[in-house]
């Protein structure tokens, strides 16, 4: 072999290091003594922010990361404090978490379960992260949530909308602030009835994977309950980029509403195609043809451009909430102010969720007086809070899902700039979107017991 020289050098070096290892007194690391994984040592605590940095959701990931950085700054006493000022719990003092300065590491989920888990593993195993947060798809959220459960750290989900995250795949160490498909449907149904009447025929296109199905199921159940009829539901491949062949038959199907259960690039393309085919200009059954996109983000609206005008959808939060709907949504303006000042544009709903999740975690630790995941879980379960921009909110103990008002939005006809693409139609109160823990759409999983790890 031609590297014989290198080999010998390598051997000697290895030998020396191994020898040193044997000669020095060794001890097992502190983690195994404290009773839980990655107990913070010294005067810092490390959080792991795992967001998509490559792939189609990279911009959403970037926005999440901005929010995380802002939250860390506020926790450590920097900046204007943001929603710490308005948060109903006052356990946080701006001196880090329990006096330990907050540090963070970042990673790239690539919006793939495997890569997301690898990235989270490295945060847990290498960087000593005690909490993982972020992400922008349900597949990733469920995968990372499962990992955190096994590893014994807390997972504070980022943007994940599938019922499964806190349904059949729920885990004791995982918490979701974001709303879900059932809530979208429950919030949208009454608004849709007001806008479009109670006699409508729905044709839906659904992304052919778990999230798409749960959203379609939820929307169908909610709209049929108020008298609408679902005449067809067509599954579309995830890899599809051109939806013309799915859109073209819609007009002659007798339907007068098209529901697009797509997210990200899929939704941008399917909506663009639907508008191209002139669906929005048509009259069917004597009514205007309407398009509904149950979940869309600000970035998707931006990608769809003018096509988003007039499209009804739901959101977890919007930066104009407090201005338009009043003090119930206090915290919104404080957050928008500090985010806007730092970055120059208003935050997205993904940013707000990530910011809130970080604060909620820190607060739970402070209230529990311990970083032990089981203590944190106990502090978060059944926690009622306010002042994080969503109005009064409950972290339900039974499934670790947040219950709060859902915002119904509509694409603006004449947006002033690229951050002001939607207008708020109304906020559906939390009671209307609440469901039982054992609701059939969420059945099948067990929360299990909290796992503190080591």
């Amino acid at each position: 072999m031609s590297f014989s020289n290198l080999t010998r050098r390598g051997l000697m070096k290895t030998g020396a290091v191994a020898g040193a290892g044997l000669a020095l007194p060794t001890y097992l690391s502190a983690a195994s003594h404290s009773g839980f994984t990655n107990a913070p040592q010294g005067d810092t605590v490390t959080l792991g922010f795992n967001v998509p940095q490559s792939g189609p959701y990279a911009d959403e990931g970037a926005d999440e990361l901005r929010a995380f950085e802002l939250a860390v700054e506020h926790l450590n006493g920097g900046g204007d404090g943001g929603m710490l000022q308005t948060f109903s719990s006052k356990a946080l003092e701006g001196n880090g978490i329990m006096g330990k300065k907050v540090q963070f590491v970042t990673g790239d989920t690539q919006t793939k379960s495997d890569a997301a888990r690898a990235s989270a593993q490295s945060m847990i195993q290498k960087d000593g992260a005690i909490m993982i947060s972020g992400g922008s798809s349900s597949g990733v959220a469920v995968a990372v949530q499962g990992l955190c459960q096994e590893a014994g750290v807390i997972f504070m989900a980022g943007l994940t909308h599938s019922n499964d995250t806190t349904g059949k795949d729920k885990k004791a160490n995982g918490f979701r602030h974001f709303f879900n498909a059932y809530m979208s449907a429950a919030a949208l149904a009454p608004v849709l009835k007001n806008l479009y009447g109670d006699d409508r025929k729905v044709y839906s296109l659904t992304a052919d994977y778990t999230w798409g199905w749960t959203q379609q199921e939820s929307i169908q159940a909610a709209t049929e309950a108020m008298g609408w009829e679902t005449i067809n539901d067509v599954r579309t491949p995830l890899a599809a980029t051109d939806f013309s062949s799915y859109i073209a038959p819609v007009l002659n199907s007798g339907a007068d509403v098209l529901v697009l259960n797509h997210y990200g690039g899929n939704m941008v393309n399917s909506l663009t195609n639907a508008v191209q085919f002139g669906l929005r200009d048509k009259q069917v059954n004597g009514k205007n043809f309407e398009i509904v996109v149950p979940l869309y983000s600000e970035l998707m609206a931006r990608g769809a451009g003018k096509n988003i005008a007039g499209i009804v959808g739901s959101q977890n939060w919007d930066w104009k909430l407090e201005d338009q709907l009043g003090a119930r949504y206090t915290g919104t303006n404080a957050f928008v102010q500090s985010f806007g000042t730092k970055y120059g544009f208003p935050p997205s709903q993904a940013a707000q969720t990530c910011y809130a999740q970080t604060l909620l975690y820190a607060d739970a630790v402070a209230r529990a007086g311990s970083f032990n995941p089981c203590a944190v879980v106990e502090a978060l379960e059944g926690f009622e809070f306010d002042g994080l921009g969503n109005g009064p909110t409950l972290y339900r103990a039974g499934d670790h899902q947040c219950f709060k008002d859902v915002v119904v939005v509509k694409g603006k006809e004449n947006p002033e700039n690229e951050y002001d693409l939607v207008e708020i139609v109304e906020a559906t109160p939390a009671e209307q979107v609440t469901y039982d823990v054992d609701h059939p759409m969420f059945a099948g999983g067990e929360l299990g017991n909290c796992n503190p790890g080591a």
């Binding site: 040193a20 970037a62 490295s122 491949p237």
Partner: protein
């Protein structure tokens, strides 16, 4: 020894030594230093190094020896993972049946796909394998969700039957009770080294896989595979049937992929459909070419290279950069960070792409050739110092 000649035995021992000492070698920087960012000696990444090493070693038996460029090997990896997770759901958390089944199922799968695809050669073969793998991925993501759990990926859950496991059996993949995620951390001064059960199991299997691959390379069978690459016409007119040779190579590499998939699931009980996507198939092609196709060590090096970038470079954010360069005056610090920024963190793909190009432009034989050049450089230096009159040999 072991039926290998001295040179191969040397390579095997070198790899064994590196693999065994990896938890130390890959953590060269003290845990709290700024350079700790570059440490790769944590269980998950080390496991990925050796698992993807296995994948690439197997792929190299097909591509490196016969020259058949398969664009669908990720399908076998995925199938291996699904079989392993199902085994852990139904039978036992012990990883042995899981890994065995994953190898067998991937083997069967590759017999079928190989048999059909090998009816064609060249790019037509590549596209056939690609088509099969993409079909597997698309179906696994959507229609086959009852088997694969689609987007979310197949996971183990508390309610799984696990008929062989008793009430007190560990709830995590284990080898007769030794859990894959159990590890001992040893602190030496400010260095910290983690030795995990899972990694050593993977490393051991990688060594076995590597050993088998050396035996195949040096065997008459390996010679025939190289002959396939060189001249199929001559093979046919020398009384040799190329079809079973290529099929055997295809199936062996498929089984390697299945082993890798099974191990991925054993280390981390989740099987996601993305493992079967064409990008994943492309990744192993890149690993093999990048390291040096047809060489023994190349694929392992290539696998390590790509996984290192994916996991280490992607985590370098601006905060980390500021940490490194904080000793500099503000203006210069910001300037340097502005320059580095596009290449690290979310820009890790850019760096990877540039490195692909640089390696293939300047090192046509892959990383192994780079190693050989450095080796030659060392030898020449030594020779120079040995020349009595000290005259330098002119550069080539």
């Amino acid at each position: 020894m072991l039926g290998l000649n001295k040179k191969d035995l040397g390579v095997l021992l070198l790899v064994a030594l590196l693999a065994m000492a990896a938890p130390i070698l890959l953590n060269p920087f003290p845990a709290d230093s700024g350079m700790a960012q570059f440490n790769a000696g944590y269980p998950d990444l080390m496991q990925r190094f050796v698992i993807f090493g296995i994948f690439a070693i197997g792929y190299n038996i097909l591509f490196g020896l016969t020259g058949y460029l398969s664009f669908g090997h990720a399908a076998f990896l995925g199938v291996g993972s699904y079989s392993a997770v199902w085994m852990m759901k139904l039978l036992s958390m012990n990883v042995i049946p899981a890994i065995l089944l994953s190898v067998i199922v991937a083997g069967l799968f590759s017999v079928v796909i190989g048999y059909v695809s090998l009816r064609r050669s060249g790019i037509y073969f590549s596209i056939l394998t690609l088509a099969f793998a993409q079909m597997s991925f698309n179906l696994a993501y959507s229609v086959l969700t009852p088997i694969t759990n689609g987007e979310t990926g197949l996971q183990i859950s508390l309610s799984d039957p696990r008929i062989l496991d008793g009430a007190n059996a560990p709830s995590y993949p284990n080898l007769f009770g030794a859990q894959m995620n159990s590890a001992a951390t040893i602190d030496v001064g400010s260095w910290s080294f983690t030795f995990s059960v899972g990694y050593y199991l993977c490393a051991l299997l990688m060594l076995v896989a590597f050993y088998i691959s050396i035996r195949i390379f040096r065997s008459p069978f390996g010679l025939m595979l190289r002959a396939v690459k060189s001249n199929q016409q001559r093979m046919n007119y020398t009384g040799l049937n190329t079809k079973p040779y290529t099929l055997a190579a295809f199936v062996i590499s498929g089984m390697y992929a299945g082993l890798a998939g099974g191990l991925l699931a054993a280390m981390d009980p989740l099987a996601g459909a993305e493992r079967m996507q064409w990008t994943a198939s492309g990744e192993v092609v890149l690993m093999t070419i990048l390291g040096g196709a047809g060489t023994l060590l190349g694929p392992v090096l290539g696998a390590g290279f790509i996984k290192y970038f994916e996991n280490i470079f992607s985590k370098i954010n601006d905060n980390v950069l500021h940490g490194w360069f904080s000793f500099m005056p503000d203006g210069i610090e910001d300037f340097i960070i502005t320059i580095i920024h596009p290449f690290v963190g979310k820009g890790w793909h850019l760096t990877l792409g540039l490195l692909f190009m640089l390696v293939v432009i300047f090192l046509p034989g892959g990383l192994v050739e780079g190693g050989q050049r450095i080796g030659r450089l060392f030898r020449r230096k030594k020779a120079d110092t040995n020349t009595p009159d000290g005259t330098k040999t002119p550069a080539e």
